[in-house]
Symmetry: C2
Subunit: 241 residues, 2 copies
């Protein structure tokens, strides 16, 4: 059996029973080092296949091989495995090899849902998930999606907002968003959502670049109705209160 | 303390420890009848405030009142409380009354994440959440968002796709999507995701209306690269496999 498991944003409390059970039932745990460390208390007796960032294809290919040999294998990632994570890659490998494996995808809480809970209720209405990483996606397509999502007044969750290799993508994204959204649009920035060292900031599209943003940051851009009350970022659904 | 708790798509396994703890720590549980039933084994000794659909404002106002009186209250909803659910309404009521309450938002797995896990990996790349309910949103805005999301080749999760009061919205949505997406676009339909009676269908934008869709259905429209392999709906991220 091959489990593809989302462990949620990274604290034990936000993991599901399903995720924990899948990890416990597995002989071998496969994952990126940071995520393995997050579940280390549950896997002390197990075989662990671990490698670094950008080793995803190698890691998932190995997981598929081990499962094909009859082992119970859990590929783990943070958040939900189906959102910019490992379930797509695992299934692509299985499809390319034309295998017929027992596979169970175990959903998890995404970093967007975790960060939003810390911010209040920013993604209460229609919203879009956009990754700013152009490692696997043409940046022209990313820019087009940013522009269309802003034109539609979607709330926008920016994944992978900034890395050392592309420090300026977030500046460019903001510039595109400002063509359709006001500088006063409320923006939530959460570093290390639901992990040790979490930092929650509520700012505006005008001022967002004054705050620290890196690969562990979730940036949530509000829609035209989003507002701030005390420490909460709130996107109304439309109820009369 | 006022907890706003997401119990996930509806089965016990997909609930987090955080959600269960918040329910256990509360004196009073507030929710729509269907959701109360999903956690009834945990709340036998507690006060329960329950009412029917469209009673949300009354229910959440009562929850805020009880918490203001010093009770520990949990407002529960399925999925994530921050996605078309109760955390926004609760915070809007708190803001309108200018209260200063201790509030904890407990995130949950959305029905989109739950349904996607059952489908395979359909939301692996940029995607949009759009609700087809026009109870609280102008239908013109919904149509605009559908059109822009389709133009951007987003994967699209359609929430509240069909109800007795608006049986034709899904037809209209499909018509709009077809202006930018091919009739062969892969579509996943999940009825009762992760609950008893779950039914998973993989079809196309051309044929989707031949399948049963109601308020408990999650409809996931693929992007131009989404494909089907055996019983899996897969949206590639862009890896070379």
């Amino acid at each position: 059996m091959l489990y593809v498991v989302g462990i949620g944003p990274g604290n034990k409390e936000e993991m599901t029973a399903h995720a924990l059970n899948a990890i416990c039932k597995s002989d071998t745990i496969v994952g990126y080092k940071t995520y393995i460390d997050l579940v280390k208390e549950h896997i002390s007796e197990k075989e662990v296949v671990v490698n670094g960032m950008r080793g995803e294809v190698e890691r998932c290919t190995r997981a598929v091989e081990l499962a094909s040999e009859g082992k119970n294998v859990a590929v783990i990632s943070s958040g939900d495995p189906g959102v910019y994570a490992m379930s797509g890659l695992v299934l692509e490998i299985v499809a390319a090899k034309e295998l017929d494996l027992d596979i169970e995808i175990v959903p998890g809480i995404t970093s967007a849902n975790g960060a939003s809970a810390s911010l209040g209720a920013p993604i209460m209405h229609d919203h879009a998930y956009i990754s700013l990483s152009d490692l696997l996606t043409d940046f022209e397509l990313i820019k087009k999606r940013l522009s269309l999502a802003a034109e539609g007044d979607f709330v926008i969750c920016l994944f992978n907002p900034k890395s050392k290799g592309r420090p300026a993508h977030i500046d460019k994204a903001r510039e595109i968003l400002l063509k359709h959204k006001s500088v006063d649009t409320v923006v939530g920035i959460v570093n290390n959502a639901k992990r040790e060292g979490e930092k929650v900031t509520i700012t505006t599209l005008g001022k967002m670049l004054e705050h620290h943003i890196d690969m562990t940051t979730m940036v949530v851009i509000g829609n035209s109705n989003t507002y701030k009350y005390k420490d909460f970022m709130i996107t109304p659904r439309g109820y009369q209160v």
